[in-house]
């Protein structure tokens, strides 16, 4: 891989041991994937934040680093609400280590926003054509597909390396040649809300790490695209997709596409997912995977208005979003539901004490059983709220 004179100096250790190792990470990845050079990134989003996932090993590694990030960098969700962790039933020991992890990132100059939806917080992190080094699979999918930026799915260390060096190796989804559609998916049904999560749940399993191009009858909102991409990134490892007439178009003309498979789906395929994973008998309902937007919080507040929940109901969002609409948060919490920030049902150990979780997210449906040891069922937002209100 070509390195500039300055990059060579970093690689030789002339800017310190931390930067030397960070550059070694970038060069090793560049070699593995055949990158020609490094490219500057506009922003970084770092995974490896929840102490449940990184453990003492990850905390030790981050704490041992010595440096400052050189591009705007924010974090993935943590294992708990950083303020209300006691209410989540988090132990003192876990909380101390989670806080230490956050402090270790703060010391490196990382902005302490813990969210899987950085694009809902700051417009300045990504625009069309920008190179990024983001980690969270649903955020990468959203950035590539909806914003039209360019990011691979970074691991925690490679994202942090990009943040400290300000660059990432130029390969994969950074290059037009790897952004061609590989599958065509036609859906002959009107979809809304969690249907997009069910659709993503199906398609991710079929296309794995492919690049699906959807032809849909309905026109998805940004929140619905968020749901679709998150589910495909969890049930498969889709990092880029297209929706004909909705998202930015592929960078190469249709003649150059290499469509390996054409898939046709109907409403009955979507319904099958709900039937196979019913939300019945759940002892907790959790919304906000990926983190709720302000519009989603408004919907939830409207559906709960004047009623009391009979089951535990969590609503997960970014702290910045919750802080921007305290009235909405208060309206949701009047029902007995709780709005937790900085964390989510997938990465928090607080989920583990439940038997079955009802969600409106294809991503949570994919991950909750394996990562939390809790059964999961899928419902629409309305069905989830009804279940929490004891109406099913």
């Amino acid at each position: 891989m070509y390195l500039s004179r300055e990059e060579e100096a970093v690689a030789r250790g002339e800017r310190g041991e931390t930067l030397r190792r960070m550059m070694e990470i970038l060069v090793a990845l560049g070699d593995i994937y055949g990158a020609e050079k490094l490219v500057p990134v506009r922003s970084v989003q770092i995974a490896g934040v929840s102490f449940k996932n990184i453990g003492d090993a990850g905390l030790e590694w981050i704490s041992d680093l010595d440096g400052q990030v050189v591009v705007p960098s924010i974090l993935n969700p943590a294992g708990m609400d950083l303020c209300r962790w006691r209410e989540m039933g988090i132990s003192e020991d876990f909380a101390a280590r989670q806080q230490a992890t956050i402090e270790a990132y703060r010391r490196l100059g990382v902005t302490i926003d813990c969210t899987c939806t950085p694009y809902q917080l700051y417009d300045s992190l990504a625009s069309r054509g920008d190179h990024l080094a983001w980690s969270e699979s649903s955020a990468v999918s959203y950035a590539n597909s909806v914003i039209g930026a360019r990011s691979n799915r970074e691991g925690g260390p490679s994202a942090l390396a990009a943040a400290l060096v300000g660059k990432t190796p130029l390969y994969g989804y950074h290059l037009d040649g790897n952004r061609k559609p590989t599958h065509q998916v036609s859906v002959d049904a009107n979809l809304s809300g969690s249907d997009y999560g069910a659709l993503g749940f199906i398609v991710g399993r079929i296309v794995k790490d492919g690049v699906p191009l959807f032809r849909l009858r309905s026109h998805p909102s940004n929140d619905e695209l968020k749901t679709l991409g998150a589910a495909m990134a969890a049930s498969g490892s889709v990092a880029l997709y297209y929706v004909d007439g909705v998202t930015p178009a592929p960078p190469v003309s249709p003649a150059a596409w290499e469509i390996a498979e054409k898939i046709s789906l109907e409403k009955s395929d979507i319904d099958e997912v709900y039937e196979k994973y019913p939300g019945k008998d759940a002892d907790i309902v959790a919304l906000g995977c990926p983190h709720c937007s302000r519009e989603e919080l408004e919907k939830i507040a409207g559906l709960l208005a004047g009623q009391k929940v009979q089951k535990e109901l969590w609503v997960c969002t970014a702290r910045k979003i919750a802080d921007s609409c305290p009235d909405l948060v208060a309206r949701i919490e009047e029902s007995g539901a709780r709005v937790f920030c900085d964390t989510c049902m997938v990465v928090s150990p607080a989920s583990e004490r439940y038997r079955k979780m009802m969600v409106n997210s294809g991503k949570a449906l994919s991950y909750i059983p394996g990562l939390c040891g809790v059964r999961a069922g899928l419902g629409s937002l309305e069905e989830c709220i009804n279940a929490a209100l004891g109406r099913n």
């Binding site: 190792r21 070694e24 990470i25 090793a28 070699d31 030790e60 590694w61 691991g155 925690g156 260390p157």
Partner: protein
């Protein structure tokens, strides 16, 4: 015998070979406190990777595996060096953050090396030295 290889993570170290044809998921396959392979389905089940020159096709599984390699190193139970046919990002990043020499792009028949053969990995110069010629059986 000397074999040319490609540096992934810098450094130089030697030890007895521990060889498997199974890929390794450091998260789940390996106990991070002891370095023992704990997955009954793995060819190296019950074996300890500490101090070895671990020779395997490559990594697989969760990216948290990189931190597990760091944890093994901090506990003193990491391999001395690692050799892959083709390194993927999880093991590559794990080796770099842990300061464990890692090389790849070696001939496939290195996976036929007898366990216990002394192997020295010099990632910096892209050389593997095997103390006696013992590929194959």
């Amino acid at each position: 015998m000397e074999i040319k290889c490609h540096k992934v993570a810098s450094g130089k170290a030697g030890g007895p070979a521990l060889v498997t044809k199974d890929p390794i998921s450091f998260l789940g396959n390996v106990n991070p406190e002891t370095g023992v392979i704990v997955d009954p389905a793995h060819e190296l089940f019950g074996r300890c990777i500490a101090g070895s020159v671990l020779i395997f096709p490559g990594g697989k599984g969760s990216t948290v595996g990189s931190y597990v390699i760091y944890q093994l190193k901090k506990r003193g139970v990491a391999p001395a060096a690692m050799i892959n046919l083709h390194s993927e990002p999880i093991v590559a990043v794990g080796a770099i953050i842990s300061g464990i020499p890692l090389v790849d792009r070696v001939p496939d028949d290195l996976l036929n090396l007898t366990d216990g053969t002394f192997v020295e990995v010099d990632a910096n110069s892209g050389q593997i030295r095997i103390s006696q010629s013992s590929t194959g059986t």
